[in-house]
Symmetry: C2
Subunit: 207 residues, 2 copies
């Protein structure tokens, strides 16, 4: 069985990674939506184990020391990381995995797991991005300006990704990512075994 | 406007490139389905200018000399080639182009136009491929054996392509190729201008 695909969905702060990720997970039920671990306090409505695993700094540090995180980063004073074991288990079993992470985390994943598929979400415009950061209502005005300035710079990192998807509407962006996943599954590098099956006079079973 | 994508659809003799190409062209009306030029005599039902441009060896040689073909090859005693001008015109205007060609031709295109998207069609099994070559009824028994032997070897060339698509049913294979086209349009290398638009405080218009 072919290994699953690790889809790394990233983009600037406020672009809507979380929303697009949720639509994607709802559309493609067989995907494992990786749950990150963080030391930041839960926002209203966030549930432990669903939105994030909320842990203290001590527990987080222990995970890092035990090499139990696929990536981790400090963002705006809090730690975020991706528990490694579950992700690798899913991929080995042939299940696709979706990671929705900030650009620092994506960079770390890329250095350790370059066979992932790296998707960068762009806003339709910087003005729209600013509106979304303000609209989220989770940041005081001064922080909004700081996040927006950082986001404008983060956009330059898009050049290092595999695909760019504009998030004008989360539904459309999620559909685009589904096309990417389908196409990636057809890449020669992931399917050299098919050539061997034919050469061995076998039959290729299509899904 | 972004340049169109050149989709090169190839695979072994008898795999069904023509059928898949036709389904694809019917599904995606805005694609230009490149018509090849050949010196082989028309088969029953083949129309000049639709299936192929049927020309004599003299005319074909003149095209080659004038560098008017994107690729050309001699296959089973006949010449086949792709008229260049129309293909490049379409790509420049942003229109996608589908080339359905044999593996020799695909190899020539790749050396001159590596930014194309190279799709190799595989049969579900070699037995099935042999049945298709026989079923086509265009070859005498001895030629069938010759084509089949060549096709088994051609399959090894699949490793040099970008994508592998199994042609169990033409409809399914065509759908897979449509996913590939959609995903390819999102590749970072084809969209670096989007980053510039945002940096210049512009608005990205989604299709």
């Amino acid at each position: 069985m072919a290994e699953g695909i690790l889809i790394v969905l990233s983009g600037p702060s406020g672009v809507g990674k979380g929303t697009v990720g949720k639509v994607l997970a709802a559309e493609k039920k067989d995907i494992y939506f990786s749950v990150s671990m963080t030391t930041r306090p839960p926002r209203a409505g966030e549930e432990d184990g669903a939105s994030y695993f909320f842990v203290g700094e001590e527990e987080f540090t222990r995970r890092v020391e035990q090499n139990g995180l696929l990536e981790w980063a400090r963002v705006y004073g809090h730690y975020y990381g991706t528990p490694k074991e579950k992700v690798l288990d899913c991929l080995n079993r042939g299940q696709d995995v979706l990671l929705e992470i900030d650009t620092q985390g994506a960079k770390m994943i890329k250095s350790g797991f370059p066979q992932g598929v790296f998707v960068f979400l762009l806003p339709p415009s910087l003005r729209e991005l600013k509106q979304r950061i303000i609209g989220r209502g989770t940041e005081p005005p001064q922080k909004v300006q700081e996040r927006f300035a950082a986001a404008s710079l983060e956009i330059l990192e898009a050049r290092e990704y595999d695909y760019l998807v504009v998030n004008d509407f989360a539904e459309r962006a999620a559909q685009e990512i589904l096309h990417i996943v389908r196409a990636e599954k057809l890449k020669v590098n992931r399917n050299k075994n098919l050539i061997e099956i034919l050469r061995g006079d076998g039959y290729i079973q299509c899904p």
